[in-house]
């Protein structure tokens, strides 16, 4: 308990400092000019906000990997453009009813942060939408449009796993990166 609680306190402080830095950055962007007055004002506002609206503890075990972050950003931008164009074509095509599917994707890394970020990345790309999540088993339920058959569904499922892998390689810990080698989790229905 004693050794664990000091580590917990340290990560809580780290979370708070990261949150405060983000808030100060937003404050500075709002003002648009850098001056010591805005910096001081930002720190005061961030302190008040974090005191009044305390954040729930986020488990962030890893560390940022610059190369992984860059790779994720480039692929994400590419996916965004490609999917937007595809969906625009789909919208303009006459006399065609697009088929869709709702698929279950149980993620390999049991982390709330990875679940959130993967969900955000998947739903920012047009053509896929998070319908539901299950936090306990870190499962995303994704509605995907423009899939013609089961093969396309499986292709999309692999893409989501690839997104998860890129996110974990960008921000995950060594243990989490190791988990990516595990086989894709089997369906929960069999063991329930």
């Amino acid at each position: 308990m004693t050794a664990g609680s000091s580590a917990v306190r340290r990560t809580r402080w780290r979370d708070r400092i990261v949150a405060a830095l983000v808030l100060v950055a937003v404050w500075m962007l709002l003002w648009g000019v850098f001056s010591w007055a805005t910096l001081a004002g930002g720190i005061v506002v961030a302190a008040v906000v974090l005191k009044v609206f305390p954040l729930p503890a986020v488990t962030f075990a890893g560390r940022p990997h610059p190369l992984g972050l860059l790779r994720f950003a480039v692929r994400f931008a590419g996916d965004l453009v490609r999917a937007s164009v595809q969906l625009a074509v789909l919208a303009f095509r006459l006399g065609h009813q697009p088929r869709s599917a709702i698929i279950r994707v149980p993620l390999r890394v049991p982390s709330d942060l990875v679940l959130t970020l993967t969900g955000e990345a998947v739903s920012l790309v047009p053509g896929s939408l998070i319908v539901d999540t299950d936090q306990a088993s870190t499962t995303l339920y994704i509605h995907v449009i423009g899939v013609a058959d089961r093969d396309a569904v499986e292709r999309f499922r692999r893409e989501v796993y690839a997104t998860e892998a890129r996110i974990v390689r960008a921000i995950g810990s060594e243990a989490e990166i190791g988990m990516l080698g595990r086989p894709v989790p089997v369906r929960r229905r069999e063991d329930s």
Partner: protein, 120 residues
């Protein structure tokens, strides 16, 4: 060709493609058969279309105060759009508005309990 014309060309291209994406979203919103499909159309102007137009505006304004505001708008949009889409999408599914005949597979239905939440 001066830097000015080049910048205007880039800005113009960004603005026009952003507007085209918005129009595509309008068309999709009207034509797609069910609500979940329409929500896909809705994410286009909210994400890439908006980013393109903000980029175009940033190139035209190229003034640090204005550009920081534009960056802030873009970041807010990127952070909030998925959350809003998730909330609405979940409400749509739980209200039973997803059209089963358009779905190839519905793996959520298999896992669902009666109150609409995924089964544990």
């Amino acid at each position: 060709m001066t830097v000015q014309t080049l910048a205007d060309l880039v800005a113009g291209a960004c603005l026009v493609s952003g507007a085209v994406l918005s129009l595509a979203a309008g068309v999709g919103l009207l034509r797609f058969p069910d609500l979940l499909s329409r929500m896909h159309a809705a994410t286009k102007p909210q994400v890439l279309g908006l980013l393109l137009i903000l980029a175009g505006a940033a190139v035209r304004l190229h003034n640090i105060i204005d550009v920081t505001t534009l960056v802030l708008v873009g970041v807010f949009q990127l952070v909030t759009a998925p959350v809003a889409a998730h909330m609405v999408g979940r409400a749509v599914y739980r209200a039973g508005q997803a059209r089963g005949d358009l779905l190839i597979v519905d793996e959520l239905r298999e896992d669902r309990t009666d109150d609409g939440s995924p089964a544990r």
